[in-house]
Amino acid sequence: MSLLSALAKQKIDRELTKYPADQKQSACMSALAIAQDEHGWLSNELMDEVAQYLGMAPVAVYEVATFYNMYNLKPTGKHKVTVCTNLPCALSGGVDAAEYLKHKLGIDFRETTADGQFTLMEGECMGACGDAPVLLVNNKRMCSFMSKEKLDQLVEELKK
């Protein structure tokens, strides 16, 4: 029984072409991202399957998946909002933005709203310190200069 769809495998195969044939583990990060895009999060079974697909030890895949914040090891809400709270952001309102969201959504970091819409996460530097406060929606969409108004707008938009 395969958890990865044929399409996902196709995408992983494409990633694999970027590396030498005996270095399949180089595609581990992209394979995990592809798997996560398909399933929303990385279950143990899914990681096991990625390991098998790439000929890696399962624990080596687990090492990668636990190292990076953007891999979800638990199911998340429909929208995962990750706010940067590292020092440069914190000095420019990052923490405040996070606090505002916590209050607005009624959840703490690493929690999901009761309606399953939002999960709030604390993120590490996103390389956009000058745009603080910054946040990421579902790992893919970067939002900069997140004032309270813009946060309200974002939440409204995502709710729809």
Partner: protein, 792 residues
């Protein structure tokens, strides 16, 4: 070569050496945790920081290449400050509770903290706590103590060949774990206990049973596989508490297999025999040694007088010492019998007359690495020879082509160049294919008998590929494993392996079954031309048997039939360290000392003679086997049993033991009739000896018996076609029949097996009834259905 200066001392090192290696050379100690000479460089603990002239900051000695003219200070104030700083960081999260830690007293962190740590901690905040993991029956964890050196992880990746432990998380959240609660099942896993510099990974069987300073360390040699790993046996008040490796680069390097490391538990088994016992009127009574030995001397004399000496046979374990086997051999031959054998699992001895000497590895273990292409024939390599497998694994990384001819496609955790996996009955055929292909590639004629036998066989692609690998390379080795030695057509396989080695211009070797297989053959504890082999003594039952160290029901190829022969004998004298099935068929049980309680010698598979002393006093009234045999020889008035010491016995074998053994080693074999059998109908049995069932000691080691390997041994692995035909579900039992015998075992689908085969192990009580059967009939067991009370 590079010239540099360490602590003012000039030193020259090879190109590519590190500062750490250079410092070791001049004897400057640099504190370290993650550095280990057998593992790759991780440079993650930073404990080895040193001062290097002109470098703007302290550099890690383990990862800094030595360069020409470098000037290094390992203990300057500058270096020390750096080292002390690192130590302070390491201790931030490490518990400071050495008195309750099992590693206390043998902990590198504790030792180095004495030299580099502060007297009090400046850290006031909360420490981090990491939950413990269950890694199986051998390794105990205290993960809060981990300092993330990743030695255990690198060991799995680089030495054991399988990454079972990893470091998950990042930064402060890093922790060592196995993938979602899996256990660590490698047959080399125990080495991570030695590697872990702190008390994070410790020995589960030894846990909290003694402190290192209470233990005396005594040298010994492992009595299990043919490698003869060197041991340090740790002893507290005449009890063996633990076994550790003794470094010997030529043999076991710094490693031990789990069998070598944990089998000591069997020494303290409740089944130990501690008093001589006599069966009188069907009841066992404990007696004094003189009574027991008088009885034995009379019983043997009676049999000899009534039935002739040939009515006496001896079955001895190849795990017994050289001295014991020499005296046993002398005793048996002195009485006039030639029936003595130590190759209890060898079914096929028809080529004995053609054998030119004692079979052995054919080279030194350390020289395996230099081979460019090898063919391993019939070996459950990883399980039977964990550390030889590691030699091949390391060599394979450096380009050695490892070719495999076997009955199961076991994952050897190394790069295997070519594999030829066939049913057991087809092994000879497969090897003949390799010979035929090789002859063609080398344009050399096959020897007459091989040419005749192979005239009609077709060379498969895999055989062709193996032949090519052997033909292309200069330094070639052909190694015959235990499975091939136990094969019903061993003689054919032997002769074919010799032919392949000849054609390839390579060396023929035997991986070696037991600790003293080579020694046993060297002192003549094999029947020779006039006596009966173990199989002969089974099929032509003797009136009297001497069973020495072996448990024939489990140690002989056909345990069931051997038992039957023992039951019909008038007298059976069992020398054993343990109470075992002999209490049913023997009339005397003589407690002899296991390897830790007697001086002795093992000759390993490379022909190295390794003598050792007893490390503890014999338990109860047990006595060293050589002393018992000496007294028995005297009682029976046989010549040449006047010895005062073990040295006398050794001198009786030869003045120069090593030279004596070396003179006997020879793998050549003469003409043998080739039997290339057609495949048999029905399911063929793959009858292996499970690694933790191979000798009486390991069978009684409880922790090893809880391992995944031991559990798997007691199941039937079925080839996918066999499994699917029976429509089984995993874990369901099958009934396995061979002739009138039948046993039930849980079934398991085993995709590594060739079609039409089933892995049903030898040497287990569960499969005893099947004897040495080679073909099996399998039936699904009716599934038990429970009706009613479903709601409860």
């Amino acid at each position: 070569m590079i010239k540099l200066e360490i602590d003012g001392k000039a030193v020259e090192v090879e190109n590519g050496s590190t500062v750490m290696e250079a410092a070791n050379k001049v004897g400057s100690f640099i504190p370290h945790f993650c550095y280990h000479k057998k593992l790759s460089i991780a440079a993650n603990c930073r404990m080895c920081l040193v001062q290097v002239e002109k470098a703007p900051k302290p550099l890690p000695a383990c990862a800094t290449p030595a360069t020409e003219g470098m000037k290094v200070q390992t203990a300057s104030q500058y270096a020390k400050t750096a080292q002390q700083g690192v130590m302070e960081f390491l201790l931030i999260n490490h518990p400071l509770d050495c008195p309750i830690c099992d590693q206390g007293g043998e902990c590198q962190l504790q030792d180095l903290a004495v030299g580099y740590g502060g007297s009090a901690s400046r850290y006031q905040e909360e420490k981090r706590v990491v939950v413990n993991k269950n890694l199986g029956p051998l390794i105990s964890t205290d993960m809060t103590r981990c300092i993330h050196c990743t030695r255990c992880v690198r060991f799995g990746q680089e030495i054991a060949g399988v990454m079972e432990l990893g470091m998950a998380g990042r930064g402060e959240h890093s922790e060592i774990l196995s993938f979602v609660g899996r256990t660590v099942d490698s047959e080399l896993s125990g080495n991570v206990i030695d590697l872990c510099p702190v008390g994070a990974l410790t020995s589960k069987p030894f846990r909290y049973s003694a402190r290192t300073w209470e233990l005396s360390r005594r040298k010994s040699v492992s009595p299990h596989d043919g490698l003869g790993s060197n041991l340090v046996v740790q002893v507290k008040v005449d009890k063996v508490m633990r076994v550790l490796p003794r470094e010997n680069e030529a043999i076991n390097e710094c490693w031990l297999s789990d069998k070598d490391r944990f089998a000591y538990e069997g020494l303290n088994s409740a089944e130990r025999l501690t008093k001589p016992m006599l069966k009188q009127d069907g009841k066992w009574t404990e007696v004094e040694w003189n009574v027991a030995l008088d009885y034995v001397a009379h019983a043997l004399a009676n049999i000899r007088n009534e039935h002739g000496a040939d009515a006496i046979g001896a079955l001895a374990s190849p795990h017994q010492t050289l001295e014991e086997l020499h005296l046993l051999n002398k005793l048996v031959r002195g009485m006039g019998s030639n029936n003595i054998d130590t190759r209890l699992r060898q079914l096929d001895t028809r080529a004995d007359g053609q054998v030119k000497g004692v079979r052995w590895l054919g080279m030194k273990v350390a020289d395996l690495a230099a081979l460019q292409s090898v063919l391993v024939v019939g070996s459950t390599l990883r399980k039977d020879h964990p550390l030889l497998a590691n030699r091949f694994r390391q060599a394979a990384k450096r380009g050695q082509q490892v070719n495999v001819l076997h009955v199961a496609d076991d994952d050897l955790l190394m790069n295997v160049a070519n594999r030829l996996i066939v049913k057991p009955s087809q092994m000879a055929d497969a090897l003949a294919q390799v010979a035929k292909a090789l002859a063609a590639l080398k344009s050399q004629p096959l020897s007459k008998s091989v040419a005749d036998a192979t005239a009609n066989i077709r060379v498969s692609d895999a055989a062709q590929a193996i032949a090519k690998s052997l033909a292309d390379k200069e330094k070639v080795g052909i190694f015959v494993g235990n499975f091939a030695e136990h094969h019903p057509e061993f003689s054919t396989l032997y002769a074919l392996a010799q032919e392949v080695a000849r054609l390839a211009g390579g060396t023929l070797g035997f991986l070696g079954e037991a600790a003293n297989s080579v020694g046993a053959a060297a002192v003549g504890a094999v029947p020779g031309s006039k006596g009966l082999c173990a199989q002969g003594m089974k099929s032509q039952p003797r009136k009297a048997y001497i069973v020495f160290g072996a448990e024939p029901d489990l140690d002989a190829a056909d345990g069931e039939a051997t038992l039957a022969a023992l039951y019909t004998a008038e007298t059976v004298i069992a020398f054993s360290a343990f109470k075992h099935a002999a209490s049913r068929y023997a009339d005397v049980l003589l407690p002899i000392a296991p390897f830790t309680e007697t001086a002795g010698t093992f000759v390993n598979t490379e022909g190295t003679v390794q003598s050792f002393n007893g490390v503890v006093k014999p338990l109860g009234d047990a006595r060293p086997g050589w002393k018992v045999l000496r007294v028995l020889g005297n009682l029976m008035k046989l010549d040449g049993f006047e010895f005062n010491s073990i040295e006398d016995v050794r001198a009786d074998i030869a003045a120069d033991l090593q030279g004596f053994v070396a003179g006997k080693l020879n793998n050549a074999i003469g003409e043998v009739t080739m039997n290339l059998a057609p495949a048999t109908a029905g399911v063929e049995r793959i009858a292996e000896v499970p690694l933790y069932a191979a000798d009486p000691l390991v069978r009684r080691a409880p922790s090893l018996q809880k391992t995944a390997d031991a559990k798997r041994a007691a199941t039937a692995g079925l080839a996918p076609d066999v499994y699917d035909n029976l429509k089984l579900v995993d874990g369901q039992s099958v009934r396995i029949k061979a002739g009138a015998a039948e046993v039930n075992l849980p079934a398991r689908r085993d995709p590594t097996l060739p079609a039409g085969t089933a892995r049903v192990a030898l040497a287990l009580p569960e499969t005893l009834a099947l004897g040495a059967a080679t073909t099996l009939t399998l039936e699904m067991l009716p599934v038990a259905v429970t009706i009613g009370h479903a709601a409860e």
